[in-house]
């Protein structure tokens, strides 16, 4: 059996641990640039705030509905996450941390009463970290995730599912007819890996509920959709296709993008932003031991500002030889921005994407070929650059992001826009658990 444990409205819950006055109030957490709602308390959901909804669309609820907005405090969430994961890890021999607030536990061979175990674990997490969670048990990861969804929904919306499934839901102790009833009452879009587009296609084909999907023909699903959806179906029927600790495949692309706090109109601002995003992507690239064969940049105006003229640029630059060298990637990105930039627009968002990824070393053949051709030996100079990159990553890791940056990342410019894209966090709470000078203050 697998368990999936996840934090309820995790970011909001982290804020509430240190600010109990937020308990019971409608709260949203805004993305780094205060642009969109990335977490909502149940009360905020009830006010009608949608996931990822732009802040300006719901701002009026501050006055009319008592909505409270805070800026994302990722340092706090990261630390609270590691505390939560550490408590969970005590309950099963194997744990796979799936996201900041979700982890799978593998209970294979464990004979305990899993509902009791789940309740004990949930209580321990709540006591030790202050974070409320939901726990789902199932024979496969997909079933555990679905059980979690049902446990959480049964808790949040009484009457949606049988009350005894709230908070901790174990499919393993249900009869087949009980499971079928749950599946029939659950929309197919709630299944792990079934996204919006697939949901629409499935519904067009008459598959509306999880039960419809379970009864669908595996082979025709595979033909019409993908092997992945067939795997999902098999998992729903109880056959494990995804193991805990499966090494994730190297990512096929690395994307870093951000909306700007204030619109950027000048070319230097866009270059600065794209250079920074490319640097960050390059750091992740080196972190996974890959090189990129192409670097793409994009920048665009805001479709939400209908009074503005709209313009968007998205361009990919293939590289002569794949690299993980920030300097090469950044200068390619900067050159692309310079070539594509058009003045007179209020740019609201930009990003960098590294594609054509492959493991370091696999490019060796080509590299030697090119070295022979242009006599640009892949040699002491390149080895030294690789060392520089390693040192840079280590310094930034140790002393915090941006301790060391390439000269070209901080484009020399006199415009005031130069750092306006940098995180705008007007409402961020203190980093309570990671900064000595920001610890919570208690009245004594």
């Amino acid at each position: 059996m697998y368990a999936l444990i996840d934090g309820n409205n995790f970011y909001v819950s982290c804020e509430r641990v240190f600010a109990p006055r937020l308990v019971g109030k409608p709260v949203v957490v805004l993305s780094s640039n205060d642009g969109a709602c990335i977490a909502r308390s149940n009360e905020a959901k009830e006010l009608g705030v949608k996931m990822a909804q732009p802040w300006f669309q719901v701002k009026h609820l501050e006055r009319s509905g008592g909505l409270i907005a805070v800026s994302a405090n990722h340092e706090l969430y990261g630390d609270m996450s590691s505390r939560m994961m550490a408590v969970e890890a005590r309950y099963a021999p194997r744990q796979e941390v799936y996201s900041v607030d979700e982890s799978f536990l593998d209970f294979t061979g464990v004979r305990d009463d899993l509902v009791a175990t789940g309740k004990a674990m949930r209580a321990a997490i709540l006591q030790e970290t202050g974070l409320p969670t939901s726990v789902g048990f199932g024979a496969t990861k997909t079933l555990a995730k679905l059980a979690n969804h049902i446990g959480k929904t049964a808790d949040r919306k009484p009457g949606s599912y049988p009350a005894h499934l709230a908070q901790v839901c174990d499919f393993g102790r249900l009869q087949q007819h009980e499971l079928d009833a749950l599946f029939a009452a659950t929309e197919v879009g709630n299944v792990w890996g079934v996204g919006k587009r697939i949901t629409e296609k499935l519904k067009a084909g008459g598959i509306h509920t999880v039960l419809d999907l379970v009864h669908a023909d595996a082979q025709s699903l595979r033909r019409k959709f993908s092997v992945t959806l067939e795997k999902t179906l098999l998992e729903l029927r109880g056959t494990s296709c995804m193991e805990v600790d499966d090494a994730p495949a190297p990512r096929q692309q690395i994307l870093v993008s951000r909306s700007f706090g204030t619109a950027i109109t000048h070319v230097d601002g866009i270059i600065e932003a794209c250079s920074e995003f490319t640097s960050r992507a390059a750091e992740r690239l080196r972190g996974q031991g890959s090189v990129a064969g192409a670097v793409g940049i994009f920048f665009m105006t805001s479709p939400f500002r209908q009074q503005d003229r709209q313009h968007s640029v998205n361009v990919t630059v293939p590289l002569v030889r794949p690299t993980a060298d920030s300097a090469v990637l950044v200068s390619a990105a900067a050159a692309a921005v310079r070539a594509q930039f058009r003045a007179g627009f209020n740019y609201a968002k930009a990003g960098a994407v590294l594609t054509d990824l492959r493991p370091v070393g696999q490019e060796q053949g080509e590299l030697d070929l090119f070295s022979a051709l242009d006599d640009v030996a892949a040699t002491p100079a390149e080895a030294a650059r690789a060392k520089l990159m390693t040192a840079m990553d280590a310094l930034n890791h140790r002393f915090g992001r941006d301790s060391v940056r390439l000269g070209s990342t901080a484009a020399a410019s006199s415009t005031a826009e130069i750092r306006v894209w940098a995180t705008k966090q007007e409402r961020r709470s203190p980093r309570f658990t990671t900064r000595w000078d920001e610890m919570p203050v208690v009245r004594t």
Partner: protein, 151 residues
Amino acid sequence: MTTDDFSDGAPVGRDATAPTPAARRTSNAFGSPGTDSTVKRIDLNDALIKHPDATFVMRAAGGAMHGAGIEDGDVLLVDRAVTASHGAIVIAVVDGELLCRRLEVVGAKSGRAVGQARLVAADSETSPVDVGQGQLEVWGVVTTVIKSLTF
């Protein structure tokens, strides 16, 4: 590391977990007496924090806990894994705020309902906060007070 590294014999800046030069020389010559039990400098985290994942650091603001040795500006280690019992110094949630007080659980002899709790200050002026049965919300238990005498 070669023996040249510590030819001056000065252990300044050496990793606290590394054996001393003398220990190394000895172990090189006579097998390994003592190399397995690495000497480790006192670590305050180990000494003071029993449950690292459940322990939080807070700063005291106010003078009402003076009698319990907690003064304005002191740093408190707060353990959420410890269950609060009668007499413990706790962080409680009162009216949506964090409050540091001594916990008194009302017993049978008091004449009041058993299970009621009272949050009591440690000075003569501040009045206690009575908490109805089932209403007490303890955030954590204060296990250690850190006072800085020099800065």
